[in-house]
């Protein structure tokens, strides 16, 4: 009977492909971060005008840039810079934003109203524009890139966590621990937080990519990491004048960005699958 075959087809176990593929891709990037010399023997800063603007070849697989530096080497060394920015820019908003969301959701009232209005105002401006504005006030530097992203990035986590807290707050198990006479702090951190943090954690994984992109665009605009540090956005920016006759300088670092981005979003998807599928069993 045809119906039976459908049932048996569904029986095949589905493996967490997203997690595996994403994990392997990210592992490659991490390897570049910690052991760049495994991938290349060139120096990212060594200039050799004799071979400037050479297209990809066996010797220089990504080609060379206008200073004759090996592009592949610069991309490999750039992974360290970009991942560091992405991770550091994500981690602070994750903690601070989630905390604010927890406080706003749990206490409600004017605290909540105030925090949410601030958040609304910030949402009204595009993310990057706001970051640029803050950097132009603070001045160009790598540390100011972090500060600017921190100042803007918390609101997404707040929004996510707060909405989950509002749901969880009214569930019966929270009422039960309230009637047991537990303190607010204990209920917030021991009972509500573990049940609401999931979506924020999943978002954080893909947020690393978002932060990297912002940082790359800032470098591209000349506001972030300053040359000659090999940062992907900066490399693309440097290649811009030559885009018509040396496409590889812009395209291949872009590919690296896309590769890392894909790995992170696959990883995020895989993690969310595990977390929603009850990390409870």
């Amino acid at each position: 009977m045809k119906t039976k075959t459908i049932l048996s087809k569904k029986l095949r176990p589905d493996r967490p492909y997203a997690l595996i593929i994403g994990g392997v891709m990210l592992a490659i990037v991490l390897l570049m971060t910690f052991f760049p010399s495994l991938f290349t023997s060139y120096d990212p800063l060594e200039q050799n005008f004799a071979i400037a603007l050479k297209p990809p070849s066996a010797e220089h697989i990504f080609g060379t840039d206008n200073y004759g530096r090996d592009l592949f080497t610069r991309v490999v060394y750039g992974a360290r810079v970009d991942l560091k920015i992405g991770f550091l820019a994500m981690i602070v908003p994750l903690f601070v934003g989630s905390f604010i969301g927890l406080v706003a959701g749990w206490f409600g009232g004017w605290v909540d109203a105030l925090l949410m209005r601030i958040q609304d105002i910030m949402t009204a401006f595009p993310f990057t524009i706001l970051v640029i504005a803050i950097i132009s006030i603070l001045g160009r530097s790598e540390s100011n890139v972090y500060i600017a992203i921190w100042l803007v990035g918390w609101k997404d986590y707040t929004k996510l966590v707060r909405s989950e807290v509002l749901i969880e707050k009214n569930s019966e198990y929270i009422q039960a621990v309230r009637s047991l006479g537990f303190s607010d702090l204990r209920i917030m951190f021991r009972h509500i937080l573990p049940n609401t943090i999931n979506s924020a954690v999943v978002y954080a994984v893909s947020d690393v990519m978002l932060c990297m992109l912002v940082a790359a665009s800032l470098s591209f605009l000349g506001l972030g990491v300053q040359p000659p540090v090999p940062e992907w956005g900066a490399i693309i920016s440097e290649g811009r004048p030559f885009i018509l006759n040396a496409w590889w300088i812009c395209a291949l670092p872009g590919l690296a960005l896309a590769f890392t981005g894909t790995s992170l979003s696959l990883l995020g998807e895989g993690i969310s699958h595990i977390l929603t599928n009850d990390g409870r069993k």
């Binding site: 198990y173 009637s179 047991l180 006479g181 009850d278 409870r280």
Partner: protein, 332 residues
């Protein structure tokens, strides 16, 4: 005379209705749903009081306000000599466990990320009423009381069935040795055969531990079986209360009468009687004037539409709020 453990006096709980931006601009007065409206009753030490009523009658809100899970909007609750509404929040936290609640939904009432042991240990450690080395013993004792063994300790809620979860819920409520248990529809989400297990358990525990119980349910059969006295609520007010047997035998309020007749009897030869009730419970936002029940009451007259009947005591222990009370010949 036995002593009063819980006394609720003129309790009011209302919830504001969310206004639209337009309402705020037009300065419309804030409107409220009066979920519990001037309710008074007492629970004696050691008795089981059943609280019945249809959905939206305020029985659950009443229970949660007694436990101060909702903040009250008026009235007084005296529990074991303490004015519950007058307590500061840190004082409240210290006495709260003496009055424990068992909730309806066996699924959402347990934290999915904590094992039974973590759950119980936390309670003991927060209140510091039990030395560390005796904790496990106490946990096992309370699990044993609810008919569960040691192997339950390190499991997560998702590994239990609905009936077992309800047992864990009861264990959690009992571990601090409360004086009173407020059970909010504790068996409504369970199947009949499991329901019977939990009812037996509650009755046994009540006798063993000398508990006082407020048992809230919409199921008249269960309430009849478990309670000594019954309180009937309709739209936020008490319409009738009295001894269980007496109230079921001869209801004095037309609503009680209808409620009892409408509950389908388990009897294939019964045709449900001739009596039909018309209409449905009005929304608690627009409570009818006069007697709240008059639009559905077969005996309603002009007086019922304008004058709200007070809750009067017919004889000790029996109160009714109706202008046209039925039968009720008094205690035999």
């Amino acid at each position: 005379m036995s002593e009063v453990l819980l006394s609720v006096e003129n309790m009011v709980k209302q919830f504001p209705i969310k206004q639209t931006m337009f309402d705020v601009i037009a300065r419309k007065p804030k409107r409220y749903v009066r979920a519990v409206d001037d309710v008074s009753f007492q629970v004696q030490k050691g008795e089981t009081v059943g609280l019945v009523g249809e959905s939206g009658c305020g029985k659950s809100t009443l229970a949660k306000t007694i436990c101060r899970l909702h903040s009250p909007d008026g009235g007084k609750v005296v529990f074991d000599g303490m004015d519950m509404f007058g307590l500061r929040s840190d004082e409240l936290r210290r006495v709260r466990y003496k009055m424990q609640m068992v909730f309806q939904d066996p699924y959402s009432s347990l934290n999915p990320r904590m094992t039974v042991r973590q759950m119980l240990t936390e309670i003991l450690s927060v209140h510091k009423l039990c030395p560390k080395e005796e904790r496990t013993a106490r946990e096992l004792e309370v699990l044993d009381m609810v008919g569960m063994g040691e192997n339950a300790l390190d499991r997560y809620p998702s590994q239990f069935s609905g009936g077992q979860r309800q047992r864990i819920n009861i264990a959690r409520a009992l571990i601090m040795k409360p004086d009173m248990l407020i059970a909010d529809e504790p068996v409504s989400a369970l199947d009949v055969s499991i329901q019977a297990q939990i009812i037996n358990l509650l009755i046994d525990l009540k006798n063993e531990l000398d508990l006082t119980m407020l048992f809230i349910s919409h199921d008249l059969r269960v309430v009849k079986y478990i309670s000594d006295r019954v309180v009937v609520m309709y739209l936020g007010r008490i319409v009738e209360m009295g001894e269980t047997e007496e109230l079921y035998e001869s209801p004095c309020h037309p609503y009680t009468d209808i409620l009892l007749k409408a509950a389908p009897e388990v009897d294939p030869d019964s045709d449900g009687g001739e009596y039909v009730i018309h209409g449905e419970t009005p929304s608690p936002i627009d409570i009818p004037g006069g007697c709240r029940f008059h639009p559905r009451c077969p005996y309603a007259d002009e007086k019922c539409k304008t004058v709200e009947p007070p809750l009067v005591e017919l004889w000790p222990g029996r109160c009714v709020a109706c202008h046209h009370r039925l039968g009720g010949q008094g205690p035999a």
